[in-house]
């Protein structure tokens, strides 16, 4: 029975995640159109709601081209690595407390790992592989440049990301994501306790997901399409999917670590039936993630791209010292209070 429940949870989470990815693309296109004073896709279905279906269908029936001089096995493997890594991060994110369904108490989290936060860090590190391998195996200089840039970018920003996480661990004294959410009950959201850590972490998430203003791996004016220049059809679709799935998991982790996760202030003491409490908690989580995603989309269409040296300077000379200072100050304050 345990295994069955886990399987159902995985299935539901994956379905929800993939649907969200499809509609995130639509939201992104509509918002960008709104910002640029255009209309955006509105022809397929009511107000364009079936546009994602049409996009996926188009990607499916496109011809799959592999460059003649590419390294074929790796060219095939790269999108698979990218998608597997980006989909497996969601496994440790708690999206609700517990729910009672048909007499079973179900924990709303696929896997409660006691070192969940490190699992997240390790998987973001793995995200480099898909992109780097894609860039190298395509045997195209634009792809290679995109891949190498992405490697350097992700490694640099992973440092400030990891160090901002140390601040969270110091405050909550646990490595388990559901315990971190439990810590943030009421208004004890970590964004209030760790404002600087939140800023460095959020900027690092932008860099890890290759979003503007940090989308140098695929900067169109310089690198054509970056690491996926040589990808068409379904393989390109997988990269696209991985990128947007990364966005969703990234903002889910921001919400879990800093914005209180599924916590809705004063809900536990309101006396609502338990079932409805759980539903509202899941809804709160979804709303928070949606807000963060919308913020990311708006940033993309309002802020110009960094130059490469500016990106590295920001990472190493500003974000890293800032996050280290945050850890030192946090440790000092905790020492004084105990």
């Amino acid at each position: 029975m345990e295994i069955l429940i886990s399987l159902i949870k995985i299935l539901v989470v994956m379905l929800v995640l993939l649907t969200c990815v499809a509609y995130l693309v639509l939201v992104e296109r509509r918002v960008s159109a709104f910002i640029q004073n255009r209309i955006g896709p509105n022809r397929v279905g009511y107000k364009g709601l079936l546009q994602p279906v049409a996009d996926v269908l188009k990607l499916f029936i496109k011809e799959d081209i592999v460059p003649k001089l590419a390294n074929k096995p790796l060219h095939r493997l790269a999108p698979i690595i990218a998608i597997v890594v980006s989909l497996s991060t969601i496994a440790v994110v708690p999206f609700g407390d517990k729910i009672n369904l048909f007499g079973y108490e179900i924990k709303l989290q696929i896997a409660s790992v006691n070192i969940g936060i490190l699992y997240v860090l390790a998987l973001t590190g793995l995200g480099v592989y898909g992109i780097a391998i894609a860039g190298w195996a395509s045997n195209n200089k634009y792809s290679l440049l995109g891949g190498l840039r992405s490697c350097a970018q992700i490694i640099s920003y992973e440092l400030s990301m990891g160090i901002s996480i140390i601040g969270v661990i110091l405050v909550t004294s646990t490595l388990q994501l559901d315990k971190i959410v439990e810590f943030q009950h009421g208004w004890r959201w970590l964004i209030l306790l760790q404002p600087i850590g939140f800023i460095t972490f959020f900027v690092a998430i932008f860099a890890e997901t290759n979003r503007l203003p940090f989308d140098l791996p695929e900067a169109e004016p310089e690198l054509v399409g970056g690491y996926h220049t040589e990808y068409t059809g379904l393989k390109f679709g997988l990269f696209f999917l991985a990128e947007y799935a990364n966005m969703i998991t990234g903002s889910a982790i921001v919400v879990t670590l800093y914005l209180g996760g599924w916590q809705f202030p004063y809900l536990q003491s309101s006396g609502l039936p338990e079932f409805w409490t759980s539903i509202i908690q899941v809804g709160t989580f979804a709303a928070k993630v949606g807000a963060v995603l919308l913020f990311m989309v708006i940033i993309r269409w309002t802020v110009p791209r960094f130059r490469y040296d500016q990106l590295m300077d920001l990472g190493w000379k500003f974000m890293l010292p800032l996050s280290i200072a945050n850890v030192i100050v946090t440790a000092f304050i905790i020492y004084l209070f105990e």
Binding site: N71, I115, L121, A122, G125, V128, W136, A137, N139, L148
Partner: protein
């Protein structure tokens, strides 16, 4: 055969096979790739040995750090279609001889020695992160500090060595 036994043989097979590919493959990018699988298999073995924190550290440092650096090295020094991509093996016979001697000696010593083994704990494995953190801050404080100094020196040294020298104007 319990689940742990099956997992042990599974990870052990992956480790040995991928390690052999690392060493014997003629294509350097495949070597780098199978090293990835070796690291994963070793991390899996750590989990079987109840060292969960260490397993994730292995992934973070080896897979997320060291191997990425190596991939950088491979990508910067080799193209997909280039001759030196295929690096030959030399002197295979003496190497095999020395290696089999080393392997024989090691396995011999391992089997002959009567290792002192404590009774294994039963039940759910306890998380190791807390204990490790406490040991770092008490018994092993000096080595811990020295290790951070080593890392700082390596960081500076690597930056200086890899930097292109400024051309004379």
């Amino acid at each position: 055969m319990s689940l742990i036994d099956i997992l042990f043989y599974f990870f052990a097979t992956i480790a040995v096979v991928s390690a052999s590919i690392v060493v014997f493959s003629r294509n350097i990018i495949y070597s780098a790739f199978s090293l990835l699988f070796t690291f994963f298999a070793v991390a899996g073995l750590y989990v079987l040995l109840n060292a969960d924190f260490l397993a994730i550290t292995q992934l973070l440092i080896y897979v997320g750090g060291i191997l990425v650096l190596m991939l950088f090295g491979v990508m910067l020094t080799h193209k997909v279609v280039s001759v030196d991509m295929k690096t030959g093996t030399l002197k295979i016979l003496p190497a095999a001889l020395i290696t089999s001697m080393i392997a024989g000696t090691l396995i011999g010593i391992f089997t002959v020695t009567d290792w002192r083994v404590a009774p294994l704990q039963t039940g759910d494995p306890i998380p190791t992160a807390k204990g490790i953190g406490e040991m770092f801050m008490t018994t092993w404080l000096l080595p811990f500090e020295v290790a951070s100094v080593i890392l700082l020196i390596a960081l500076i040294g690597a930056a200086i060595i890899a930097r292109r020298e400024k051309e004379a104007k």
